[in-house]
Symmetry: C2
Subunit: 360 residues, 2 copies
């Protein structure tokens, strides 16, 4: 009888909580106002012939590499960051190799590392949910082959310091250090300039968040030219679709659209934190387009109350160290005001009292 690999049999199944998503989308950290209108115009200008041809990513990789200040050979466009993580695991992890993952974090690192038959070692943040740099350093062994760090991190919004990351890369030269900068646009700091000097460093970027193109599936994996040659070997030459490739240069050229959206998110983030302060609700400082805060046992009623008011937020209770927590995406100014008004009403409705606000 046909039997899946041992590592696959052990693998947890990941079921994204999608399904019907009617309402204001403050649940998946996407761009909540959609992509640039210019991208849509580009979409409408595509010809049947362009769709019928196998996609060629090369020329677009040149454009993206230039934008990122990298050599063309350092850049691989991927089918979302998911594929970048997948390829990295497949390129480097032999069965039994160790993968270090600070948690809580994005769930796909653990899935792809597990699929590659790695021994996954999660490193728990303390109650501040800050990047656990010291604990990670101590967890490095000769078998460490990948360290996956989202910075800013999801669902916490915390960032890893440049020096901390460089120290990690130096302490584990036999491991790939992936810095997933999916939320870079809302933060502004990047490890990209170190790619030339740190041979085991990889940086991931995405057009799913600030750029509003999660549906198009376009990510970037960047590393040293030598290592990227290995990563390319395990992927398909046709991994990124022609629509994404056609739209990317257009999206990149419309800097004003992104700048305006990012400015709204930054304003909204400050506004939301001030509001949480005044409501006496505990939260974690965020450099991303979302905020994690503590509701406690009433979190299900809170999420449901928001949903009834047409606003989708995400229960993160089952993330390690996030018991009782809810994550809300920050969108446009108007959306932030609507979300705050709804939060106030829902907290009253669920009889959320000071006694419940202590935190964990």
């Amino acid at each position: 009888m046909l039997k899946a690999r041992e590592a696959v049999l052990r693998l947890k199944e990941y079921h994204p909580p999608l399904g019907e998503r009617s309402g204001m989308r403050l649940d998946f950290n996407e761009n909540t106002s959609g992509c640039s209108p210019r991208v849509l115009a580009k979409l409408g200008s595509l010809t049947p012939d362009e769709l019928a041809k196998y996609p060629e990513r090369d020329s677009v990789e040149v454009v993206v590499a230039e934008l990122l200040g990298l050599a063309r050979e350092q850049v691989l466009l991927t089918n979302g960051v998911d594929e970048g993580i997948h390829l990295l695991c497949e390129a480097y992890i032999e069965p039994g190799d160790q993968v270090l993952i600070p948690v809580p974090t994005f769930s796909m690192y653990e899935i792809y590392a597990g699929a590659a038959a790695a021994k996954v070692i999660t490193v728990q943040s303390d109650s501040t949910l800050r990047f656990p740099a010291q604990a990670l350093m101590q967890a490095i062994t000769q078998r460490t082959r990948l360290i996956a760090v989202a910075s800013p991190n999801n669902p916490t919004g915390a960032v890893a310091g440049e020096q901390e990351l460089l120290a990690l890369a130096a302490a584990a030269p036999h491991a790939a250090l992936l810095v997933d900068e999916a939320y870079f646009d809302f933060y502004g700091q990047t490890m990209l300039p170190h790619l030339g000097r740190v041979p085991n460093l990889f940086v991931a970027r995405t057009f799913s968040k600030a750029y509003g193109m999660a549906g198009l599936r376009a990510g970037v994996l960047a590393g040293s030219a030598e290592q990227m040659r290995m990563v390319r070997r395990v992927g398909s030459p046709y991994n990124v679709n022609a629509v994404a490739l056609a739209c990317l240069p257009t999206a990149l050229a419309d800097g004003d659209y992104i700048a305006d959206y990012v400015a709204q998110v930054r304003r909204g983030r400050t506004r939301m934190l001030r509001e949480l302060d005044s409501l006496g609700i505990r939260y974690w400082p965020s450099e991303a387009n979302f905020v994690l805060f503590f509701i406690g046992e009433k979190r299900t009623a809170f999420v449901e109350g928001m949903r009834r008011r047409g606003i989708l937020v995400r229960d993160r209770n089952s993330d390690p160290g996030c018991a009782g927590c809810v994550r809300i995406t920050i969108g446009t100014d108007v959306q932030t005001e609507a979300a705050i008004a709804a939060m106030r009403q829902v907290l009253l409705e669920i009889h959320y009292t000071d006694a419940m606000k202590v935190g964990r």
Copy 2:
């Protein structure tokens, strides 16, 4: 120092011969007239919000499953057939397992099997380039974990018989038998009805060929519900982009467009074979939208002569058993006539004589 997996270090790099493709595209077996105009209209109707959201494939999988006469759990939409092959290799192949690949065939089987650290065993067709059923049967061992069969096969156009495939699946119950039906629409026979009864059978389909949507990257991998659960585990929930998902139901609904295109290809195929007969050029019978024929040492001059006349065809000389061969995609009636006229001219131009036609 960071070192790629042994299997990756050994892996051949695949460089698709793309780059500039100006002219009549008879080189990649795509739909040469483009996708249905209805698909294009659908594309133009997408909203920024639809592009900004993570894609949800579930509802489209229901539509595709229904069309294929399968249960929803049996069907996984993939980022082209490439991803289906990749996931199948990752789900089942432990390092050192054996993968049987009849050759010549589509090159990605060997790449993904190699990336999974399989021992790849190629089984060469004889000079008829027919499906080597007997040789495959004899190559099965206890370590055989995957048998990858394209039917119709690329670049030969040959098909594997239903009984031959069933016998293979029965002889290797501990292996996955992948029947890649990428060219199904030009053939008409399928293994799909056997999926319920043969637990180790998988069938792949694509919308890159007849449907003219190679740029959108949409494939299907189908198998038993139980096995597909394993395959799903190693993939991303967001592997197929939102544009492909939005356009697929529209494309499937426009049956007339496909029927007309397929009818032209079938007519053109007959017409091309008759022409090759009259030119005295050896060819291999094809059930796909292309024909492989023998030119010999002048093949480079032939391909170049066609290109100068604005027609792109593909040199298959380096495929095992295809020395001296060229492959031409069959498109619309008009394109077939143009291709034939150009072939006649080029053969004269390169002084192609009867003495060169002997075959291999």
